[in-house]
């Protein structure tokens, strides 16, 4: 196994009485694409935010590219990037202006050339003068991906990377991410509840529920372990077992 790019140890996040992430530990090996798979409120985005250093853990540690993210995140931030459909770029700035600002923030050597290359690869050339706010949801997703790839990150964290994309564009984006990984050797951690996406892209899947990692393996291993045909069936199996368990454990009104 290659060196771990992300190491998470006993990571916990509490918001008052709510435990969003409950003492999880995992590693992500270099050059792999790993998925955080789970339903709404499972703790995927919270985990991503703590890996990025956007959110401080209540306890536990996150090490990225050998650096403790609580104390030395600025040592690795130029080498990583992030995209999420839930965080916008400035809406009134054009796509070209947005990418120029971020290219300077990342200290890129040849701003114009780099922006030209990445927007060419993502088919965004005709949208450069459009303000971000006027782009369609799918165009915004590709634009955010362009921002996330500007610095050719060694580690890319993606929150639902193909949300809002039509099946054809989503398929193209998945292919692009695979080729990017193959070309650069980059590592990716993806939060998703799109099973087809996870099956296609990811060599390692961490299944989260109620803030915990409830299972882990390759898509094939998980499918075999649960005796199912697809990862979606595995996901539903786990989700319904937990709901069923909770129903059985819950006291009835008569009790």
């Amino acid at each position: 196994m290659r060196d771990a790019v992300i190491q998470v140890r006993e990571l916990t996040k509490r918001f008052d009485q709510v435990v969003a992430v409950d003492s999880i530990s995992f590693e992500v090996a270099g050059g792999t694409i790993t998925a955080l798979l789970g339903g709404n409120g499972a703790g995927k985005t919270t985990t991503l935010a703590m890996v990025l250093g956007l959110l401080l853990p209540t306890s536990g540690t996150v090490t990225v590219l050998g650096e403790d993210m609580r104390r030395h995140r600025h040592r690795v931030l130029p080498r990583i990037n992030f995209s999420s459909p839930y965080i916008d770029l400035p809406r009134r700035l054009s796509l070209a202006e947005n990418l120029t600002v971020y290219a300077h923030l990342y200290g890129l050597a040849d701003v114009r050339r780099r922006i030209g290359r990445i927007t060419g690869e993502l088919g965004l050339e005709d949208l450069m003068d459009r303000s971000f706010g006027t782009l369609s949801a799918g165009q915004k997703t590709r634009a955010s991906l362009a921002k996330a790839l500007l610095n050719e990150p060694e580690l890319l964290l993606l929150d639902e990377p193909t949300a809002s994309l039509d099946p054809d564009t989503a398929d193209w984006v998945r292919g692009y991410l695979e080729s990017y990984r193959d070309r650069t050797g980059a590592t990716m951690l993806i939060a998703s509840h799109n099973m087809a996406e996870v099956e296609r892209l990811c060599s390692d899947v961490l299944i989260m529920a109620a803030g915990q990692i409830v299972d882990r393996g390759t898509p094939a291993q998980l499918i075999a372990r649960y005796g199912r045909r697809t990862l979606e069936e595995v996901f539903l199996d786990i989700a319904r077992r937990r709901v069923g368990g909770a129903r059985e454990a819950a006291p009835t009104a008569a009790q």
Binding site: L56, P78, D88, E97, V101, G107, N151, E154, G185
Partner: protein
């Protein structure tokens, strides 16, 4: 070339981020300038209010000129007060509005996973505030010359001291307002427009501090703005540049700016504890 080596060549970014980068500050300033460039109503709005103020108070001054011997001696007091008050108002608004732009556009999450440091953002906000203040106040000062033959530049070197002290005090209030917005969300947004007017009566823009009741004078003397306007009147009425007032304003500004910057930086820390950087937005 290895993948990582190629990345380093492309990005220049595989190096650890330096503790401070003027390029990153410039990038954020560029971001606000793009916004201004893309919207002429914003530029017009910047110029509009200071010019309207000058017009209004210019006519009032002209009226007083014929009815008050005191004002006759100090015809510039009102117009200088208007222009310098707008320096304070615009500089505060320049910081608050630029910060609110990040909140409105839900961009804080992207900014804080980039190599940008929170104190670099603070510097960028102050640079943009200076630019916005100059855009607003310079045309108004020219209007005063053209319409009333009053030039605030006749204050000479003291004008520079007055300008920068008010500018820095405006930054301090703007940073505190930004900290409150970060902490309490857009519910605190209206503070960006209201906060500065809370100190207007005790800043003694158009009247001497002695007009205030005794107990309120203590509050006034604790504000750099009151020191500046008192100093302005000393120059205009008595022809004296009061270095004691200037020194007091500078000391107070160091204190208030430190408090403002510390409040915003602490709010960033709280936002990272509470997960606000991902949630905040319209």
């Amino acid at each position: 070339m290895t993948a990582l080596g190629r990345q380093a060549a492309v990005a220049g970014a595989a190096r650890p981020a330096r503790w401070f980068s003027w390029r990153r500050v410039g990038a954020m300033t560029l971001r606000y300038l793009y916004l201004l460039r893309g919207s002429w109503p914003r530029v017009v709005e910047l110029i509009y209010w200071p010019t309207v103020q000058v017009l209004l108070w210019g006519f009032i001054t002209q009226f007083f000129l014929y009815h008050s011997s005191w004002v006759m001696q100090t015809a510039g007091v009102l117009l200088a007060g208007v222009l310098l008050w707008d320096v304070l108002f615009r500089s505060q608004l320049g910081v608050s509005i630029s910060f609110l732009e990040e909140v409105w556009s839900r961009n804080l999450g992207h900014l804080f996973v980039s190599p940008l440091r929170s104190y670099e953002l603070v510097v960028a906000l102050t640079v943009m505030s200076l630019i916005r203040t100059l855009i607003g106040v310079l045309p108004a000062s020219v209007a005063a010359i053209l319409l009333y033959h009053y030039s605030i530049y006749e204050l000479g070197l003291p004008l520079i001291a007055f300008f920068f002290n008010l500018l820095v005090f405006g930054w301090s209030i703007g940073l505190m307002v930004s900290a409150l917005v970060l902490r309490w969300g857009l519910g605190a947004e209206s503070l960006a427009w209201l906060a500065i007017f809370a100190i207007a009566p005790v800043s003694c823009i158009y009247y001497p501090i002695t007009v205030l009741p005794e107990w309120l004078r203590v509050v006034a003397w604790a504000l750099p703005s009151a020191q500046v306007f008192e100093g302005m009147r000393a120059v205009l009425v008595d022809g004296v540049f009061r270095t004691d007032l200037l020194a007091a304003a500078v000391i107070l500004n160091v204190l208030y700016f430190s408090l403002g910057a510390a409040a915003l930086l602490y709010s960033f820390h709280v936002a990272r504890v509470r997960g606000l950087l991902l949630q905040m937005g319209e």
